[in-house]
Symmetry: C2
Subunit: 137 residues, 2 copies
DNA sequence: TCGCGATTGTAGCATTTGCTACAGTTGCGT
DNA sequence: ACGCAACTGTAGCAAATGCTACAATCGCGA
C-alpha cells in the first residue's frame, strides 16, 4: 500500500512538543542565569519570561515534582543532574537553531525571536541538517 | 548605549504565536478539507487533529465569535472571507516551510511533522529566506 | 414512515498557564 | 535590634484545551 501519512500525526507531535516546552525553556533559563550570577531566584525567571512571579512559582513547583529542579522555601533554585542534562541538550539545540538562522541571512534580533519558538519543534533529523548548514561555531 | 536585546521579548513573541496557532491550524485544515470534499464537518476536524469532537466544537464556536469561520447548528463549517484570507496566508507559509525542509535534505515524513509546529514561529524575515532557499515550487 | 447509526451539542471535570490581591519571610542598613 | 523593601508564598479567578458521559438531532435505508 502507498505510504499515506496519517494526517493527525504532525498535530499530535506538535501538541507533545508544547507539553515539554515550558520545562525546556525553564531549565535552560536557570542554567543561563546560574552562569552569570551566583543564584537563580523566582524573580529572575519572572523578569526573563515577563510573567508574574506567581506563574514562575507554580511552574517551578511542578518541575520540582518532575525532578528537573530543586529548591526549598525562600531559597534559590538549583538544577539537579537530570535538570542539568536537559538544560545542556536544550541549549545546544537552541544555539544550533539560532546560528543556523544567522547562517541563512536572518538578522540577529529576528533569529533570537524565531529560534525561541522554533527550537521546540525541530526534530533530531532536522537539527542535524541545521548543524551542518550552520557551519563552525 | 549598546543594543541589549530585552531577554523577555522572544518569549513574549512565542506566547503570542501560540495564542494564534489554533486559529491558524483550524482555518488551514478547513480550507484543505473543503478542497477534497464538499463539506467540512466537526468530525472531519476531530479526525484530522486526533482530538475529541467536543474540543473541535468549542474551538469552532470561538473562531466563529472571532469571525474566522461560519456555521449553524448541525450544519457544516464554512470560511468567510476573513477566514479564507487567513487560511491562504497560513497555507502559503506552511508550504514554504515544508518545501524548505525538503530542500535542505530532510525526509518527507519528518518535514511534515516539523513544519506543522515550526510554521507558527517563522517570522516574515525568516520566511523570505526560506522561500529563496526552497527553490521553485 | 420510521428507526437506527452517525453526527452534533451539552454538562461537567482536569490541567496548564496567565493574572491581581494579599500575606508571610528575609535580610540589610541604620 | 528593628524596620522597611524586596522577595516568596497563598488564595482565588479566568481562559484555553484536553477528556468522558450523556442527550438531542439528522438523514438514509428498509
Ligand atoms: Mn524556547
Ligand atoms: Mn512553541
Ligand atoms: Mn501548525
Ligand atoms: Mn509552537
Amino acid at each position: 500500500m502507498t505510504e499515506i501519512a496519517k494526517t493527525s500525526e504532525p498535530h499530535q507531535r506538535t501538541r507533545g512538543d508544547h507539553a515539554t516546552e515550558t520545562a525546556e525553556d525553564y531549565v535552560e533559563a536557570i542554567a543561563d542565569i546560574l552562569e552569570s550570577q551566583e543564584a537563580c531566584r523566582v524573580t529572575d525567571l519572572a523578569k526573563r519570561f515577563a510573567v508574574s512571579h506567581v506563574t514562575v512559582h507554580r511552574i517551578i513547583r511542578r518541575l520540582q515534582d518532575e525532578g528537573l529542579v530543586v529548591t526549598k522555601p525562600y531559597q534559590p533554585i538549583h538544577l539537579p543532574p537530570k535538570g542539568k542534562r536537559l538544560a545542556a541538550r536544550c541549549r545546544e539545540r537552541h544555539t544550533i537553531v539560532y546560528r543556523f538562522l544567522l547562517a541563512i541571512g536572518v538578522d540577529e534580533a529576528t533569529a533570537a525571536i524565531d529560534a525561541e519558538g522554533m527550537e521546540h519543534h525541530v526534530s533530531a533529523a532536522t537539527l542535524a541538517r541545521f548543524r551542518e548548514l550552520a557551519g563552525p561555531g
